[in-house]
Symmetry: C2
Subunit: 458 residues, 2 copies
């Protein structure tokens, strides 16, 4: 509740007691995604001699099939950090049904799986790889737990007002129907809860192991014929079909969430500790702007207006810069994600966490309604790819490659690799001359057409 | 600032001193829009004998031309209230340029007009007609003042960082360009500020005259080739063309703004005074729901989940009901608008105002880019119309009527009347059998094609 928020983030309250000294948890060990074990690397750029910093592109070993025969490829950044701070996870999501015994609190777990889903996830870490690794290890378990908690509702014609089917008043289904609540709303709710639960786990684990960091999270889940894409951060997923490009996620950055962030600073000015100004100006103000009327925006404005500059307007802005340079409190380039519980503005006690949301935005794709074609794919990638390739360029690469390679069982893997290569300034890439991503880049290519084939095979 | 919000709305702070007794302002007098003077009425329903409650449809007198030859019609509600609580206003918006004298604070007003716009507005009152009348009398003046305050920026190629053109650093235009600020962003900002200024005026006037009430506001402003539609409430504007229906506004109700409203109650639980629950449930909970797991949503959720019912969940919900029945704190059907400064939940001290926004959402239509056709119109109407007619039904009526009547100088007036008639259950109306609006209904039909003609004529 808000009381918790105030105790956690607002000054004037006693700090939480330090943890008693005890056995410290072991630190989170760096590693690449499990499904890359035994993989080989291909050279990064076409002309390695021209690019001494050429980095290897990694993909799963050919014998290791990802769900739906999805393709995956990744490349580490150009010596920005020692570790690849991107992480990935994917797998089958086995949701069991809990049956209630005679006493309500007694559960009988039926170990056999009841609903099967599939899961692909990308995490883009910052401030170290630990949060992304924890998220890759944890989020799917949180999601399975959240889905199992509502599985009775998922398989009903519509979610019942009362879970467990006990004490259903005859009028209840009617009320639920009037609100238009569908099984998919429970999956959306489970994804929202799973992200928050995972965020709490990461906070505890990082504190226990004395590590720091945060990460974005982009998750695609297929369940009961629908694809759910949950996003917290600046990764992106798009659907590419023969004659359609559909965004399946939206980026959350200090720029796209300006009003929410300014609003919070308006409500709790203490969070800025007198060091930052909540207002947005077209550029950092200087001493000789004092007294002038300059353009500005506050939390309730989507348009711009003019105000006379006061001394407090000269402080560093809460959100500064634009595009890829936009920063929250001069520190973070994303406004949603997991972790960052301890993150503070350099040399101050000002916390970032109160401005960050762990809750994702979820879009639902009704795959059953799509009249799927062989080459329909979802492309998920971290921002390193989208910084240099537009949706249209990615779609062009997909449409150039897939139709001629329908017999190749490794075509989605090759497509993922090709997408990564295209971020490295290859001459035949569709990017403008010299457009090279120096960031970590990770890509999933998920073929939707396999969904039916795979289900038939089980 | 937030300090103001806390002092104004949160308990525990001393109440503002009562106003000293003095001459009381005279109450706001009820009347219809100015442009209806000298108008006649046509009978409401086709078959007056069948409907004893048949009400007259009012339109401007034929000699009185509204801007762009727009059509207008209205009908009072079916004895829901003594007065028609809808109000309307329209006219030319003359924006003057203020020139600065030698001393910055000395202005020389050049009385000749500098920019000309046009303005159409609908206000749907509740709790009495006073707020809607004040808004109809005031909002255009607030808007003119706000636009005049930024007029130097409006006519520049792009708004300068510093208003008044003084002390412009050579690097400034570059910064403003990088932020992508356009003249239209200043108009959006001026509309946002004008709504807030008007809300303050209404608050003062109602308090001074001892009256109460609030209203929604839907405003269309044409300026420099663009049409700005600003909306706070549940009225609606749509663009109807031969092969396109484009919504120009979105309704703000307790349902559409659920997350914002729940979020405020999360931050300031004091606002609910222990009488309401912030959580949304599919129906009002009852005593025998206690201990059950029921569907719910909180402020951060767009999906649904289950929670075990506690005693506090049995309180009356912050937002209750759905569709047209949805109410904020059991009281209001809209979540944005002007006025309502004194509104409290019946028999309590719980205020509505902190949950209401006066700031509108503004959409911009670049009319110059449209390749206008003779029959392109914007239809603006209060919720009484949209409760019984869909966008598609309104477009069907527009497209059925206009093409055959291009020579009729009163065609937009007749179309507005016909739209009103269609809400009264006429047999040839496109509504389902028996769909009758018993609410006040007001409609503007604004032909976009006249824009060019009128400009040429001046």
């Amino acid at each position: 509740s808000a009381g918790w928020f105030r105790r956690r983030f607002l000054p004037g309250e006693p700090l939480p007691a330090p943890r008693p000294p005890g056995p410290r948890a072991s630190p989170v060990l760096y590693r690449r995604p499990r499904f890359l074990r035994g993989s080989s690397s291909s050279p990064g750029a076409a002309d390695a001699s021209r690019r001494p910093d050429s980095r290897p592109v990694r993909s799963p070993a050919r014998g290791r099939k990802l769900p739906w025969n999805a393709g995956y490829a990744e490349i580490i950044n150009a010596e920005k950090s020692e570790f690849n701070e991107d992480q990935a996870a994917c797998g089958k999501l086995c949701i069991r049904r809990c049956e209630f015994g005679a006493e309500e609190e007694w559960l009988t777990l039926c170990p056999e799986e009841f609903l099967t889903g599939h899961y692909w996830a990308l995490f883009d870490g910052h401030g170290g790889p630990a949060a992304a690794i924890l998220a890759a290890n944890t989020l799917h378990s949180c999601l399975r737990r959240q889905l199992e908690a509502v599985v009775e509702g998922l398989v009903a014609t519509q979610p019942p007002m009362h879970l467990n089917g006990r004490c259903i008043c005859s009028s209840d289904p009617q009320f639920v129907e009037e609100k238009g609540i569908r099984a998919e709303d429970l999956v959306v709710g489970a994804l929202e809860s799973a992200f928050q639960e995972c965020d709490e786990v990461i906070g505890r684990e990082l504190e226990a192991s004395g590590q720091v960091g945060g990460c974005t999270a982009l998750v695609a889940v297929s369940l009961q014929g629908k694809l759910y894409v949950a996003n917290a951060g600046d990764s992106r997923a798009i659907l590419v079909r023969r004659d359609e490009i559909r965004p399946l996620s939206f980026e959350f950055t200090p720029e796209t969430e300006r009003q929410r962030i300014q609003q919070l600073a308006f409500v709790y000015p203490e969070l800025l500790a007198g060091e930052f100004t909540r207002l947005e100006f077209p550029r950092r103000l200087k001493g000789d702007d004092l007294g002038q009327k300059v353009l500005f925006r506050d939390h309730h404005m989507s348009g711009w207006s003019y105000k006379r500059v006061e001394k407090s307007d000269l402080k560093y802005p809460l959100i500064h810069g634009q595009g890829r340079q936009a920063r929250l409190l001069g520190t973070l380039a994303v406004s949603r994600g997991l972790g960052d519980h301890q993150l503070r503005v350099l040399d101050t006690n000002i916390q970032l966490k109160p401005f960050l949301l762990s809750v994702p935005q979820v879009t639902v794709l009704d795959v059953g309604q799509l009249e799927l074609q062989e080459d329909d794919v979802v492309v998920m990638a971290t921002d390193g790819l989208w910084d240099v390739l537009s949706n249209e360029q990615v779609a062009w690469l997909v449409r150039s490659f897939l139709p001629g390679n329908q017999e190749d069982p490794y075509r989605f893997l090759k497509l993922a690799q090709m997408l990564i290569h295209s971020t490295q300034g290859k001459e035949d890439s569709p990017t403008e001359e010299g457009q090279v991503s120096y960031d970590d880049v990770s890509v999933f290519v998920i073929p939707l057409h396999s969904q039916g084939q795979e289900s038939n095979g089980h």
